[in-house]
């Protein structure tokens, strides 16, 4: 029965609580020094995204239409909208899971002018329960890599997500947040040019979500990939995005640039105002009943 206790301790060590980011204490906490970029992998090059009149229909139903979107390399784009608004469809188009029925999507070019390396983090961790944490991360590496090099790369990226020491554990003994960090490590280990996150924090509790958001922001800053995050949490959107796009009924209804320094102060007036703007766009001002 010593195991759970050991786990609890290990967890406590591996999740640094960034107290300065918690709403309750932000008033008194001194301004955080800019996060040291974790000693990671060489900074990858983000790719540009260029969507021209992109649409997708399933039979007669047009779930996405006339989406024009240009994203600069290394930008953090957030897509928000109600469920069923077409944001997941947009995301599937971006990673090539589906082909658009109208318009064109240009991604890249990737490093050395090759095909862009796109990775996706799902809402569920989707870890292989029969593989150790380390082997799960190694899934993100090309099969051609020798197992020794793969383990080394996987160990490095596990440290980036604060899971060093959990390499040999089974996913079933990890908490929800830890599992999602393994999934993030799996996506990051191949140094993607484009990282697509499909509501990755939707299933986590509020505090874990805040820790995870700052973690995502830090690895994005360190690695320099282009990030596309789909979420329905407007607070998350304004905390992380360089730019937030609101989709409603298959169209972009708002394209909002957010030019605030990072890390952003949660609950500040500037963010709250932006959140309000987003909510208005999502629900339509007229719909809100006072």
């Amino acid at each position: 029965m010593t195991r759970p206790l050991r786990q609890v301790l290990a967890e406590a060590q591996s999740v640094p609580l960034e107290i300065g980011w918690l709403p309750e204490t932000k008033a008194t906490a001194p301004a955080l020094p800019p996060e040291e970029p974790p000693a990671v992998v060489p900074r990858g090059s983000g790719v540009a995204l260029d969507l021209k009149g992109v649409g997708k229909s399933f039979g007669d139903k047009r779930v996405l239409g006339g989406v024009d979107l240009q994203v600069r390399p290394g930008d953090f784009l957030v897509v928000v909208g109600k469920s069923g608004c077409g944001k997941s469809t947009l995301l599937r188009l971006l990673v090539g899971l589906d082909r658009p029925t109208e318009g064109e999507i240009a991604i890249g070019p990737g490093r050395d002018g090759g095909k862009a390396n796109a990775r996706i983090v799902f809402q569920e961790p989707r870890l292989l329960p029969w593989a150790s944490v380390l082997d799960n991360v190694a899934v993100g590496l090309p099969a051609s890599l020798s197992s020794e090099a793969a383990w080394k790369a996987a160990e490095t990226v596990l440290a980036d997500v604060h899971l060093q020491g959990r390499a040999d554990d089974w996913p079933s003994v990890l908490s929800g947040g830890q599992r999602q960090r393994v999934a993030l490590a799996r996506a990051l280990v191949s140094h993607p040019d484009l990282l697509v996150l499909d509501e990755p924090l939707g299933a986590l509790d509020a505090l874990t979500r805040i820790t995870m958001q700052s973690l995502i922001e830090r690895v994005w800053h360190a690695q320099g990939f282009t990030a596309v995050l789909v979420t329905h949490d407007v607070a998350e959107a304004v905390a992380l995005g360089d730019r937030v796009v609101v989709i409603d009924e298959g169209r972009i209804v708002l394209d909002l640039a957010i030019d605030l320094p990072r890390p952003r102060e949660r609950g500040s007036a500037a963010l709250a105002a932006l959140e309000g703007k987003l909510l208005d766009a999502i629900f339509g001002v007229a719909e809100v009943v006072y």
Binding site: F122, R126, W130, A131, V139, A143, S172
Partner: protein, 256 residues
């Protein structure tokens, strides 16, 4: 430590109690020797046959048949199960036929099998292989179908080749179900073999029991029956050990 050892003996308390009552009944004359000889007589018979080498020879020849039948029937069941689990087309072509054959009790084929193969080894191998085929097949198909589609999608997106996807996602995902099939097959394996040996054989445990019946050696008959029970348990223990080893990741097999 003492408590740990005691608790590991708990499952054997009931069989031990049954043997004790049986021995007492025989000693008091409640149980007739012609119906059921005392456990000590059975052990003595076992010792006699072990010394003559008969017991080992018969057990060996039965085990060899059982394993050969298991490998053949289980192998075919596993292969076809994978094929039908992975390919809808193959499933459409073969599954209906397999299900029809499955519902014929395979022991009902004994007269036909004897006509085909005589009373040689082939007849027994055929029956055992046929018997173990179905549980392995059904559970393999079920296991492969039950693999989490989200994991398969993840594997595809992360660029796994079909072979890697099979090796790293589909097969491990199907394994718990395949083990259920295997354990079920082991039971059927012994059952089929003993019946087949009882009807037609010139060696093996079933043959030993039938010979003993001819000469009214009740102790040897009972001995054979007890050996079946032990072999069945042994097969199950081995299967469980294998299961525990390959399913160490499964929450059901952790912290035990």
């Amino acid at each position: 430590m003492a408590r740990l050892r005691l608790s590991s003996l708990t499952p054997y308390a009931l069989p031990a109690a049954v043997i004790a009552v049986w021995q007492a009944g025989s000693a008091l004359g409640v149980i007739s020797d012609r119906v059921l000889p005392a456990p000590t007589d059975v052990v003595a018979a076992g010792w006699r046959l072990a010394l003559s080498g008969e017991l080992l020879a018969n057990a060996k020849s039965s085990t060899a048949r059982a394993l050969a039948g298991l490998v053949i029937g289980g192998g075919i069941g596993f292969g076809l199960g994978l094929l039908n689990g992975l390919s809808r087309a193959a499933d459409r072509v073969t599954d209906t036929t397999v299900q029809m054959i499955r519902n014929v009790p395979h022991l009902a084929l004994i007269p036909l099998v004897i006509l085909w193969f005589g009373i040689g080894e082939e007849a027994k191998l055929f029956l055992v292989a046929l018997g173990v085929f179905f549980p392995v097949y059904v559970n393999t198909v079920h296991g492969v179908r039950g693999v989490d589609g989200q994991l398969v999608e993840m594997g595809r997106i992360y660029g796994m080749s079909s072979w890697t996807l099979f090796r790293k996602v589909i097969l491990p995902g199907a394994l718990p179900s395949i083990f259920v099939g295997l354990r079920y097959a082991l039971g059927i394996m012994w059952l089929t073999l003993i019946v087949a040996e009882t009807i037609s054989a010139s060696s093996g445990l079933g043959y030993m029991a039938m010979q003993a019946r001819e000469f009214m050696l009740v102790d040897v008959v009972v001995l054979s029956i007890l050996i079946y029970a032990l072999l069945g348990k042994l097969a199950d223990v081995l299967a469980r050990a294998l299961e525990r080893r390959s399913l160490a990741w499964h929450p059901a097999f952790q912290n035990h």
